[in-house]
């Protein structure tokens, strides 16, 4: 057979491509659920990291995740994970930004006052190992704990990541990583822009901070009364309620 004829070449190419396409489609179908599970588990581990849970010694991070994270809210397409740790609600916000070489992301856990940072966790696609990649390490992440994302007037101003020795104006700050200026700036920008996108959540919640973490649950003695504001919805025309902490029961 003449393997150099045009017809042969075209038929050969077609057959090869079809075989390969079918094979890859098949593999993708078979492995898809497993890959999805991995992606989800990875996300759960990162959220646990933001909640300051040590998962290195944990055999079943998924079980730990479900024991802590009670609910997921949706704020204009951005997720808020509601966790309860030591009977205190924590809100985990998802962050997404850009580093030097590729995307960076992370999770920021806030206390129920929606001001104090409980914990932070960061990830990156391809930052320089030993420099920008250090954002995933504890020493950098722990700097954020206890910082406040609001200024004295209660406006959300984020936390700045700055070179040691420089002073942020009107907001709290943590030290940048030396040798990784662009990645550090990326983290700073990511916090600022993402917190702005959560404005609806952060500002509505502020007037109803006390029912935090009790979404969908009823307060004792208030049968049938849902606090919609707790679930990321606006109180329509209603004045803000202030509930005493004592009213909240742990269910």
């Amino acid at each position: 057979m003449n393997t150099n004829s045009n017809t042969y070449t075209i038929v050969y190419a077609t057959v090869v491509v079809i075989i390969v396409a079918v094979l890859l489609a098949l593999v993708s179908q078979v492995l898809g659920p497993r890959q999805q599970a991995n992606v989800q588990l990875d996300q759960q581990k990162q959220i646990l990291g933001a909640l300051k849970q040590d998962i290195s010694a944990c055999n079943d991070p998924a079980a730990l995740y479900f024991s802590l994270v009670k609910d997921t809210l949706d704020v204009n397409g951005h997720p808020v994970y509601v966790a309860v740790i030591d009977d205190e609600p924590k809100f985990v916000l998802k962050l997404k930004g850009a580093g030097l070489w590729g995307g960076i992301g992370g999770y920021l856990a806030l206390d129920k006052d929606l001001n104090t940072i409980y914990g932070a966790n960061f990830n990156h696609e391809s930052e320089t190992p030993g420099l920008g990649a250090l954002i995933v390490e504890l020493p950098f992440r722990q700097q954020f704990e206890g910082k406040h994302i609001r200024n004295a007037e209660g406006q959300v101003v984020s936390v700045a990541v700055l070179k040691a020795g420089t002073q942020a104006e009107g907001q709290e700050q943590v030290d940048a990583l030396s040798g990784a200026t662009i990645t550090s700036t990326g983290v700073s920008d990511m916090l600022r822009t993402n917190l702005a996108e959560y404005a609806d959540f952060l500002n509505v919640k502020r007037c109803c901070g006390h029912c935090s973490g009790k979404c969908g649950h009823h307060h004792d003695g208030e049968e049938g009364h849902h606090h919609e504001g707790c679930c990321g919805h606006h109180h329509e025309g209603e004045p803000c309620h202030h509930h005493d902490a004592q009213e909240i029961t742990n269910e």
Partner: protein, 209 residues
């Protein structure tokens, strides 16, 4: 199992005398990129070995049917399919490693070692020989990756495969005298180490002759 002289040559040649990295100077780019730590280097070495061996076998099987004018394209399709397979399998069974290797798994497609072996060997040799040639070249590549990664992880982070080798108490931060070499983390240092290996390799082989 006694190996014939030719078989031995095909399988073991690429490990030393005809090493794809230090003698043919192929696949340098990925050798610099994935050798910051030992684990990704190991996985990369294994992945490339599997892919070179398998694609050598497939191309060798097809060698008499492949139209000459599109042979490079056919080779690429075979390699790309195998690389995608490996990438999918890693994402399903070794997610952390897949994330660490990120784009470099995909870039195996452009690894010169693959196309080099397919063109130079598999297109003109029998299936078994091609398999051995692929295995040899993959292992030769893996060996260099592992040596480079060993030095980079040891001196760059004080660990090997994630386990601490240089005690914490030695570090300046803990009142010691030792500090990690930040340079080891940079790709430039990998090139210098590869250069060092080539130097040592040439010096030793010269003595043998």
């Amino acid at each position: 199992m006694a190996l014939s002289q030719k078989t031995k040559e095909t399988l073991l040649g690429p490990l030393n005398a005809n090493n794809p990295v230090v003698v043919q100077v192929l696949g340098i780019c990925s050798a610099l990129a994935v050798t910051v730590q030992l684990k990704p280097a190991l996985v990369m070495g294994v992945a490339v070995t599997i892919i070179v061996a398998m694609s050598n076998v497939i191309i060798s099987l097809l060698r008499n049917t492949i139209p000459m004018r599109i042979r490079i394209i056919v080779q690429l399709v075979v390699v790309a399919a195998l690389v995608t397979l490996v990438s999918e399998v890693l994402k399903a069974f070794a997610y952390d490693v897949a994330m660490q290797l990120s784009v470099y798994i995909g870039l195996i497609i452009t690894n010169c070692i693959l196309m080099g072996r397919l063109e130079a060997f598999a297109m003109t040799n029998k299936v078994w020989d091609s398999f051995l040639d692929g295995l040899g070249n993959g292992l030769g590549y893996a060996a260099i990756l592992i040596i480079v990664a060993f030095f980079r992880e040891l001196f760059g982070a004080g660990t090997l495969l994630g386990f601490r080798v240089i005690p914490e108490s030695w570090y300046v931060a803990n009142g010691g005298f030792y500090e990690n070499c930040g340079m080891m983390m940079m790709p430039a240092m990998a090139l210098i180490i590869v250069g060092g290996i080539i130097w040592a390799h040439r010096a030793i082989n010269k003595e043998e002759k």
